[in-house]
């Protein structure tokens, strides 16, 4: 970067007053952040180095160094939950982006009546995750679920969807991808609408097929939006909780348990604040890395997505 000469002028009295007012207006936001995020985070890190089981209040909360962390390293259930979370990320993030891209391409057609398509994309986004989980749990029900009914209609054998470890994972994939792909589609649709029509017209003149147009124009032009969607989905996928909670509650056994669910279980069910905090810190570190990538990306690209 070349240094541009900066003319430092002294702030006038009015400007200083304005700046003071500015800080005053920002104060409520910062106060909320301190109370709801910063202080809890400090407390989280503090607790992660302590023995703190609410079931044993007489033990107090002594400092135990990295014991909670080393406990995690030797805890097979932690590793299993981490592996499951990783599988959910690897499958559902690209899955949602691919399905979302398909939906966005379909939704980008020049409809005269736009609301059915727009609402078709908005409704899955607006539903609570647990509702999607409950609905798909009903779809995958063994006896009277829709999925097995369709399988039987085609002469197949019904599957024990949510009580088989592997099939349960697949059922959860489907629910997560259905629920999250519509938000991805909305983001990508906004991206599609910024691609100049003239590019396609020129390609048409040159005789490019629609397949070539997709690979040569649509995908490259959509790249920034796809990257944003990927990173965004990853940040939420790290925290996967609601849908498996509603569909299987981590079962059968702990076959579909995610890291978020294991943290919740340790804290709320086992009341082991120390261990739960250590696991939460580990998750935070991973999430922070992805967030950092996201923020770097948005600062280089004006394209921003909110939610």
């Amino acid at each position: 970067m070349s240094a541009t000469p900066v003319v430092r002028h002294r702030l006038t009295k009015l400007e200083r007053a304005e700046q003071r007012l500015g800080w005053a207006l920002l104060a409520p936001a910062f106060l909320l952040l301190v109370g709801v995020v910063l202080y809890p985070v400090v407390e989280l890190i503090n607790q992660s180095f302590r023995f703190n089981q609410l079931t044993m209040p007489w033990m107090g909360t002594p400092f135990i160094g990295f014991d909670n962390y080393t406990k995690a390293l030797g805890d097979p259930r932690f590793w299993h939950a981490t592996l499951n979370t990783l599988i959910f990320i690897i499958v559902t993030v690209p899955g949602a982006v691919i399905v979302g891209l398909g939906l966005a391409l379909l939704a980008n057609k020049p409809f005269t009546v736009k609301w059915p398509v727009r609402l078709g994309l908005l409704l899955p986004w607006a539903l609570p995750l647990v509702f999607a989980g409950l609905i798909f749990r009903w779809f995958f029900e063994y006896n009277v679920g829709l999925v097995n009914a369709v399988i039987k209609m085609f002469g197949g054998q019904p599957l024990t969807w949510l009580s088989d470890p592997t099939l349960a994972m697949i059922g959860i994939f489907v629910a997560i991808i259905w629920k999250t792909s519509s938000f991805v589609a909305l983001v990508l649709l906004a991206g599609l609408q910024t691609i100049p029509k003239s590019l396609y017209e020129a390609a048409e003149v040159d005789g490019a097929s629609s397949w070539q147009q997709f690979w040569e124009i649509t995908l490259p032009m959509l790249r920034p939006a796809i990257v944003v969607a990927l990173i965004f989905r990853t940040i939420t996928a790290i925290q996967t909780f609601d849908i498996p909670y509603a569909m299987t509650n981590g079962g059968p056994g702990d076959a579909t348990e995610t890291l978020a669910m294991y943290i919740h279980k340790n804290t709320i069910d086992f009341l082991d604040i120390g261990y739960g905090s250590a696991l939460a810190v580990l998750m935070f570190v991973v999430s922070a890395l992805v967030t950092a990538v996201y923020l770097r990306h948005t600062q280089r690209n004006p394209a921003r997505v909110a939610t």
């Binding site: 609570p128 995750l129 997505v305």
Partner: protein, 277 residues
Amino acid sequence: MTMPRFNKTAVLWIAALVVAVNGFFPALWILFTSFKTETELMRVPITIFPTAPTFENYIRVFTDQPIHLFLWNSFMVATLSTLLCVTVSALAAYALVRLRMPSPGLILTTLLAITMFPLISLMVPLFQVMRSLELLNTWWALILPYAVLSMPVCTMVLVSFFQDIPAELENAAMIDGCSRIGALWHVVIPLTAPGVFTAGILAFVNAWDEFLLALTLAPRVSARTVPVGITLYQGEFAFPWPIISAALVIAIVPISILIAVFQERVVGGLTQGGMKG
């Protein structure tokens, strides 16, 4: 190469149908399910439309489970957290846009980064904090975190709307004896009403949908929000699907109407910045 007219229309219809069916089908299926009797629901082969439609499930939702209480809790938590969030965000956004703050971009990024903190990590200490403040199972345990949850979206939406208001309008108001805050309230907010509204809807939906914190910080039946209340419905032996489906319909309808009425604003707010890059 031009496609025949019929083909083009057919493609449009198929595209619209795929997107709409994908979006509506699960909710519609639940709607049909909610009018079926328990015996019809357990019968094989399954039916699509209810053969003997009944309202019984809707009555039982209110008699077996206090869903009205869940709806009330959800409504109040979502409304109050939205008001808090939009107010705080509007003040912050105004300061960032108008008041010569040093590096407003950095402040906005910090805000974003802090609020992207995984909820599950916040859940553990928030549980502790709310417990010691004796706020567990109260609306406040959820209102404060939800307001923060939606602060980045709201602030970003409002910043982009505020930027479009010419400063001269406020200056004129201030020459007429309005204070800064007066100008914000009487000039900027009315002119950016659509933006304020968009921010509000997004905050409301976020709060209405949230599950993890609601489950952790307000699990008692009297304090449950709708997502927690419905998910934790437990029958004596099996999951009570007829009641669940009716409850889901009751919970989905209000949010669907909200989304349907304000769909353009919601889409605009969600894809804020509109991929300008």
